[in-house]
Symmetry: C2
Subunit: 333 residues, 2 copies
């Protein structure tokens, strides 16, 4: 797959995507970096070459084989049809088309085979990918009925500027000043708040709804029911999740550990003596999702409950890495 | 109740206790501030008087009517018998005696009547108090079968020095240095980790076990089963909790809101349009526990599930305020 374009190349996910393509030696004959007029002209180093970000236009995708859309949902809605008309295969990181019929929603460890010859493939929500990567290997072997998840989400999901805001506000507070929210509605320094996405009539916000609906699509038939509470915490770039599972049959802690120990994309971090469990600072920059706190849920008298705690890099497995894994599958098949 | 002693008066809970006693005009004829040899000699202002912290000794409690033990469990085990021999009634903030038979474990809004003539009364764990204050008014009217809770706990639960550590480490990270953990085993700046208390053979740490066992004792007969995941987040002094409830019968969001709107010690913060929900920065310094994100749990097909999000000041309702409320009850009866 020779000619490759990235729309949103200067964003947090875009930068990560470029690094991962290089690190994984993804075969690229031509790499076209695209962005808004605001980003156009920025220089990005790729494999010792300096590339200049171009402003995206109607003809940008002509001759492209593969296009990554890693800006936002609005940009994806605008530019996906243009890229499709140009004949490119498209991997879209936004929520714009994830639930559309005929658009595979893919975590390669789970459902790569749904890609087939699809021209447009959707990359799931970051919290969803991280949860699903860990839960799927269990569900595949021992059906899960229900998931109760509470997230501890880094600000990176809201982009570079949110990361800058966290640092700046934190400094303001340490210096004795009032924090000045800009990207987020509420202060994030030494604070947390429920995810900033819109809250629907049923009381769930959009991020939570993604975890519910995308998991249903990714897991397919017999998917577990999911309820989620999504929370932003003052952390830079890895999401954590407290996950409570109810299996259809009794399940043992030992069996869960056995399965997760060899599952792809996962690393067990579960040292009770050393109190060493998944932490965002250790998940950041890692490809694997870290999982620990594996234990029988003692509130379930029938032994069907299991508790887990997970940390995964929101920008890597939660976004850019998963997109590159999809691209590798597209190229290989 | 005239003569009152506080052991642990220079700690985070002790300082808060002194402020609350004054703010609530608790009748005090004599206030004796006690501490370890390290704290002895420190000056604390109480109602425009400067009091000097004395080192606790075998005779310290002689003549005292009421003693607050707000140091740690080890200090409580050591000094409780001394205070008891001196004839004082004791309110112990530590975990030392909470589960002992004959020791009332009290959240006044829930079970003040269990105090009776008890000479020793235990103040529950902070996360437990905050959860129970919100969940009890619901459970009292509509029995709850099971609670799945994940916490977002401030560092204040580990004392003043942990609060200083969070500030210092955060500054180190912002200045480009590696954080230097001292109180906590792991970095806390821009990080989170599972609660630092010891993990038992069943995989639960002590903080989680407290939430399970103390709730059982406080709620009494027909108490809900509880499973908890306790996590420290880089927040200074208010705990938050994501709480998933399963009632025995179907329950509506409207009914939950109706009950919580008038329950004591609680304030509804649940504005979906403004995305305004409980946050630690708004709970800090408040007496009330903030509750919001009230919604039907759509993963429960039979309508028995409700989700909540709570923030409460760990040092106030989670510790010092609850202890003073107990004292007020002791004095009044």
């Amino acid at each position: 797959m020779a000619h490759l374009a990235i729309l949103g190349s200067t964003g947090a996910v875009g930068r990560e995507l470029i690094e991962i393509l290089l690190a994984r030696r993804f075969s690229v004959d031509r790499l076209l970096l695209l962005g808004s007029s605001r980003s156009a002209g920025q220089k990005i180093i790729y494999d010792d070459r300096e590339l200049t970000v171009e402003e995206v236009a109607e003809t940008s995708f002509d001759g492209m084989d593969l296009v990554f859309l890693v800006a936002d949902a609005e940009a994806s809605r605008c530019w996906m049809p243009v890229a499709r008309r140009a004949g490119a295969r498209i991997i879209d990181n936004s929520s714009a088309f994830r639930l559309d019929d005929g658009v595979p929603l893919v975590v390669p460890e789970i459902n790569a085979e749904t890609i087939g010859q699809a021209r447009l493939i959707a990359n799931p929500n970051c919290s969803t990918i991280i949860m699903n990567t860990v839960v799927w290997p269990l569900h595949r072997r021992h059906s899960i009925e229900r998931i109760v998840v509470s997230t501890y989400q880094a600000v990176s999901g809201a982009g570079f500027r949110a990361m800058t805001e966290l640092r700046q506000q934190t400094k303001q507070v340490l210096d004795g000043h009032q924090p000045e929210p800009s990207i987020f509605r509420h202060p994030i320094a030494f604070n947390l708040f429920c995810h900033e996405s819109a809250v629907g009539e049923d009381g769930y916000n959009d991020e939570e709804r993604k975890m519910v609906l995308e998991t249903r699509k990714i897991f397919g038939k017999h998917a577990p029911a999911v309820t989620a509470t999504c929370v932003r915490v003052p952390i830079l770039r890895a999401h954590s999740e407290s996950i409570n599972l109810t299996f259809r049959e009794p399940m043992s802690e030992a069996r869960v550990r056995e399965i997760l120990a060899t599952a792809p994309g996962i690393r067990l971090v579960d040292d009770r003596e050393a109190s060493h469990f998944p932490m965002p600072v250790e998940a950041a920059g890692q490809d694997d999702c870290l999982v620990g706190r594996i234990r029988q849920d003692t509130s379930q008298p029938d032994g069907r409950g299991i508790e887990l705690f997970v940390s995964g890099d929101q920008l890597r497995k939660g976004a850019a890495l998963n997109a590159v894994q999809i691209a590798e599958y597209v190229v290989a098949t």
